[in-house]
Amino acid sequence: MNASGDAHLAIRDLVVQRGGVTVLEIDSLDIPRGLVTVMIGPNGSGKSTLLGALQLVLHPTRGSLTLDGEPMDADPVGTRRRMAAAFQEPLLLSMSVRSNVELPLRLRGVERRRRRELAEHWLERFGIASLARRHARQLSGGEAQRVSLARAFASQPEVLLLDEPFSGVDAPTREGLLEDFAEIVSETRPTTVLVTHDRDEALRLGDYAALLIGGELRQTGPPAEVFERPADRDVAEFVGMENVWEGQRSESGVYRAGGVRLASTAKSVALGAPAMICVRPERIVLTREGAGDGNLLRAVVRAVRPRGPVVRSELASGRLMLTADVPVATWDELGLSVGDEVTARISPADVHVIAQSE
């Protein structure tokens, strides 16, 4: 599975085994140059293992990894010096903030004045210039993560390998950090591999996504496509496609599931062929009126759970169970409670169909 365009990193026939068990197996994956590739998947799916292999800190059982067409392991130190990494833990050394940021440059033999200039520039870019003289042990989690990212950028890497660097910081800090990171990465355009669990992060930062499940590459493509058009049931479950119904095509562009007819603009499957019909919970619009375009399903509210900015409601439309995420303000306007009748509106463009083998 490969992205179109110029591959900076290429992974071929990669197998990583631990204790005789295969934990990662990728036939082919290209990491496009100058773009952010988000590596997504559940825990234990092999994302961090893949990152470890790209960093040359773990040795694959077989397969090849190339950077600009050259084997990465031919000169491991030279290859690592073209890359930089940041992790969930900031992993700063016991020295000042400035010395931490200068360290990769020092290891590359960059002269002192140039090191200082670059460190100051990147500390400034990440908004932590005032912390330059502070000891790394005296930083908050958010500050330490900014230092870690400034250190990664300071060595001006061709390839940036990031393993959930935003997940260890609190929500408001994370928001600011994500904003700054997105701006910096769009200016500097290093080839970036970002491992993340977070859908928003993937959609916001990613140009290209690769989804791993059980050590296998299951889907690649633009992040929105992976989240909106999952390739199979496992992917659908992982990307939060809460509504996955078994059904079949009844006529052109129309599917039946649980006794309900659903129009879809998705690529068609054969007439009468079984299919999985998927709808994201935030794509279901609830109205009192029961009018409008698209698929209109009368449903009864069965359960309600507040989930931060949305209210997750479980609905029954005949035999079909639906899950809808409704923004809190809309929910309050509707004034719905359990047992109320409501209309669920689903645009045919939001009905995704996965062909199923019989």
Binding site: G52, Q55, M83, M95, S96, L107, H135, R137
Partner: protein, 232 residues
């Protein structure tokens, strides 16, 4: 009690008078023990790092040997070195027996397991992900070792103190391989034993006090370095 006070007075007098023999013995003691400690650090820290970071067949056996070595009686080391360096021993042709070099070798073998053991414990306590980050930053093998030494400097200074303490306080092995020859291999510990045997308790106390003060001063310097605010 008078004997002790006489000893302290004698020590003060000898130092005040700048007794040439005492100064010579003190300087020799420092030179031999410092050389042994320095060698133990040069060999022991990389060995400790390898034992801490690598997994290989026989590693457990080596770690057990290091731990045993940390409590090895000095006379056993002395005997071993004496047998090897003896005129008819495997390295007898080098004519090292009863020389300061032989004493450095014996003290090195005593401090080495301590330096390896302390280094191993310090480096093993470093977050493995931090070591991964060192590699990811582009460090080569020696740069990783340098960063590890820097990161574990508190523990490694404890290794220096333990190694130097073992070397300077040792008497049995120094006697066996050095012979306590006046002007050549006599150090503070062997001189103290000699003077005690002769019944010259004032001189023995004086020598012991010099030894204690010397050990204290060296450790004071190391402790000051260890406990000061982290350097940037």
């Amino acid at each position: 009690m008078d004997l002790i006070w006489d000893g302290i007075r004698e020590a003060a007098r000898l130092w005040w008078a700048g007794d040439a023999e005492i100064i010579e013995i003190t300087l020799r003691t420092l030179a031999i023990s410092s050389a042994a400690t320095a060698l133990a650090l040069v060999i022991g820290i990389p060995v400790g790092a390898v034992l801490a970071l690598r997994r290989f067949w026989g590693r457990g056996l080596l770690v057990a040997a290091v731990n045993t070595g940390m409590g090895m009686p000095p006379v056993v080391i002395g005997l071993l070195v004496a047998l090897i360096l003896w005129r008819t021993g495997p390295l007898g042709d080098l004519n090292l027996i009863y020389t300061p070099t032989a004493m450095v070798i014996a003290q090195l073998l005593l401090s080495l397991p301590l330096v390896v053991g302390f280094s191993l414990a310090s480096i093993q306590s470093v977050n493995p992900r931090l070591i991964g980050q060192m590699w990811a930053m582009g460090a080569n093998r020696w740069q990783v070792l340098w960063l590890l030494i820097r990161e574990t400097r508190l523990g490694l200074l404890a290794a220096v103190m333990a190694g130097f303490g073992a070397a300077i306080s040792e008497v049995g092995a120094s006697m066996q391989v050095g012979g306590n020859l006046a002007g050549e291999t006599r150090v503070l510990t062997t001189a103290t034993v000699l003077e005690t045997g002769r019944g010259n308790f004032e001189v023995a106390i004086a020598l012991s006090l010099v030894l204690v003060v010397l050990a204290f001063l060296v450790n004071l310097v190391l402790t000051t370095v260890q406990q000061r605010r982290p350097v940037t």
